[in-house]
Symmetry: C2
Subunit: 428 residues, 2 copies
């Protein structure tokens, strides 16, 4: 029997979509590393009866562990500790020592905010230090303590790990929770699975369905590996998860993917195109710069996402206005007037301008129609020209017609550009 | 009795956190507009028994409507239509006419991908055209049809709306679903609520808890409005939801917030700081440009997120390397050597450089330590200097110490910069 878990994300602001949840995905990955099978993530608002119903559902499904995030703050709508205490049939008790430790954390923070009522703060501290009897307390990283709360002695049921909502508090506190005796006991039967990821670019997802059928016909025992495929930022991702003794089955499956999709398979070790571009630049000791119109700096922002990117990113020019294309990226006004700002010629000129002005080895130019306005029959919304120039070579320039709205077109343009850069660097 | 709904997001790639869900939040907002109370969002993998358990849970909670997203594709792990058909006790039947319509959609798309097996495509079309008996079919926007499937005659239960996973297919298909007789019947008792949003910047969330207590003491009937507060990208958001006859209660509550938080309340109509900056620039017919170091173009990307931003965004310089700060943004090398790249002086020089080089009315400079490396005792990770210069005036320059990891510091820097720009423009 595998060890199964659920996640309960609390907060009306998450349920209603005003805040996007970062904890569910992060916790999912941590559970996977521990060999735990995540069965459900439920998002509930700040209503105690809805939270209780979600916990009861997860208990009925026979889950071994439930992790909650959020609802540990100082406001009246922060109810998680109390609801979990009630669900595990444990009375709530004020932990005086914990209350003192929270007060010691809060005191210096409050210096930033003068004129705050000290009685309100004391009340908030006491609320946050009131915990279910017998729970293991996880020391606060912010001001809210977390909890590991076992089932009541009267019945079987999940061990519940209660964590605060802010990711930078939740993440270290999860690591602490994973070391507690209470959680280790609940996870003792977990099997550690292997997981492998392949990525392809420039292929429809339906082709992978066919490849799975081919692999099966060729005798690969796909029943022993769990394969999921998805489209993600324009790439197809194939993830396989299996028990360690099915490693040969995965190898056979990967061989079928390699032979059928050699031209579109760019990652067999799960590395992203961003990591590959960074590694290729480092290998060659080359630097890169961009000149962007429709993406407005998104490609530069993406290139500088990775720590240490200052080793190879020189900078960028966001040339939104045509005059800026001329003044900062050396695009000639005549070129813009002759071919239009969205053209292969301007994309190439931007790439050359970025390279020359920033003193980089590699220059990238992007110009397109992100929409919703500005499209024409000849140059519709979604048309994007991308150009890459290396050293003194001729630029490599491509156009794409990207689907979706403004945000989709801008984001997808950066993916296409990353792949064009990757190919250019790999071939150089 | 209010009308209540649930959302079931399907897909192992979402459950395991490899793809972040955009549909749940979008659907939550649409349900709210129709006066429907969203009770739960559940994320489940591509396992039919888990999907059935989630549907059964939502039915047990007495929900009137359940909306599912995902699992309508051509691959074998796409099971939603079949699971929903089974749950509503309806046999699956091939809709030949629908199969023909899907084939007509797919044919031109397949021209992009030569060498694809036509039999595999025909099989995929038939799978996607096999639907529960008596369901209302929603015509495909991509290739997958959606469904509105009522409960079986034998029992009460939710009407289930089945939508595809890609947001640009799901969104128009939801609008179609909302017009069907089947869904309108399920929603006929919905109450339309009012919703109002206030935003504050530069205040801890706990202060709002105190304000709620003050409002209550002053006699505001808070029981008649549902107030939730949350921290979002460094801002505090207060959302109130209420039946139309509680409008006066909301006005009284808003007056308490205004009087207590006049200095930090920047939005009483739900507008974002991004929208306010755009409106202020348009009002004054001013243009803006940025010169960014640690944010790597994120502020320019944020300024160009809004459609029509080419009216007021001139461009940007991403000056990651010091030589680029000198060459493209006119920062003197001496200034960098004397004060360091992360300093008020360099932030100001960047703001002036952006303004002059891009020919803009407003220049913004950002320089900081995003981490994880590069910090020192004097200039720790999270220290960011931001400067705004208008016309020929003295720059307005501030430093902040931002918490969190590299991505947090970069993102939060853009929020602080937007607020600094907003104040500078509002005071101009």
């Amino acid at each position: 029997m595998s060890t199964r878990a659920g996640i309960v994300v609390t907060g009306t602001e998450v349920l209603t979509g005003r805040v996007s949840d970062r904890n569910g995905p992060w916790l999912a990955e941590r559970l996977r590393e521990l060999g735990v099978d995540l069965a459900y993530t439920a998002i509930v608002g700040d209503r105690p009866e809805d939270m209780r119903a979600a916990l009861a559902f997860m208990a009925e499904q026979g889950l071994d562990v439930v992790v909650t995030s959020g609802g540990l703050g100082p406001t009246a709508d922060d109810l998680t500790a109390e609801v979990v205490g009630g669900f595990q049939e444990r009375p709530m008790e004020l932990d005086e020592a914990l209350s003192g430790r929270i007060a010691a954390i809060v005191a210096p923070l409050m210096k930033r905010w003068p004129n705050i009522d000290p009685e309100a703060i004391a009340r908030a501290n006491r609320k946050q230090a009131t915990v279910p009897r017998g729970a293991t307390v996880l020391e606060p990283v912010g001001t809210a303590p977390g909890l590991v709360v076992g089932p009541p002695q009267s019945r079987r049921g999940p061990t519940i790990v209660v964590l605060p909502g802010p990711p930078r508090e939740l993440q270290p506190m999860w690591q602490t929770a994973a070391q507690t005796d209470a959680l280790r006991a609940a996870l003792r039967d977990a099997t550690v699975y292997e997981q492998r990821t392949m990525r392809l670019f420039g292929i429809p997802e339906s082709e992978i369905a066919e490849t799975l059928r081919v692999a099966e016909r060729e005798g690969v025992e796909l029943g022993r590996i769990e394969v999921t495929t998805c489209l993600k930022r324009g790439e197809v991702e194939i993830v396989a998860r299996y028990e360690p003794d099915a490693a040969e089955v995965y190898a056979a499956f990967a061989a079928v993917v390699e032979s059928r999709h050699a031209d579109t398979l760019f990652s067999e070790d799960g590395s992203t195109v961003d990591q590959q571009v960074a590694a290729l630049l480092r290998e060659r000791s080359w630097t890169i710069a961009t000149a962007e119109s429709c993406t407005g700096g998104l490609l530069a922002a993406r290139l500088t996402e990775l720590p240490g990117s200052s080793d190879y990113v020189r900078g960028a020019i966001v040339a939104y206005a045509n005059e800026v294309k001329v003044a900062l990226a050396d695009v000639s006004l005549e070129l813009i007037e002759t071919h239009g700002a969205v053209s292969s010629q301007v994309a190439e000129a931007l790439a050359r301008g970025a390279r020359a002005r920033a003193g980089a080895d590699v220059g990238v130019g992007i110009t397109g129609v992100a929409g919703p306005g500005g499209g024409s029959e000849e140059k519709p919304v979604g048309l994007v020209w991308i150009s890459v120039v290396l050293e003194e070579q001729e630029p490599i320039t491509r156009s794409v017609n990207l689907p979706g709205g403004r945000a989709d077109v801008r984001d997808r343009s950066t993916t296409v550009a990353m792949h064009l850069v990757r190919r250019a660097l790999a071939d150089a």
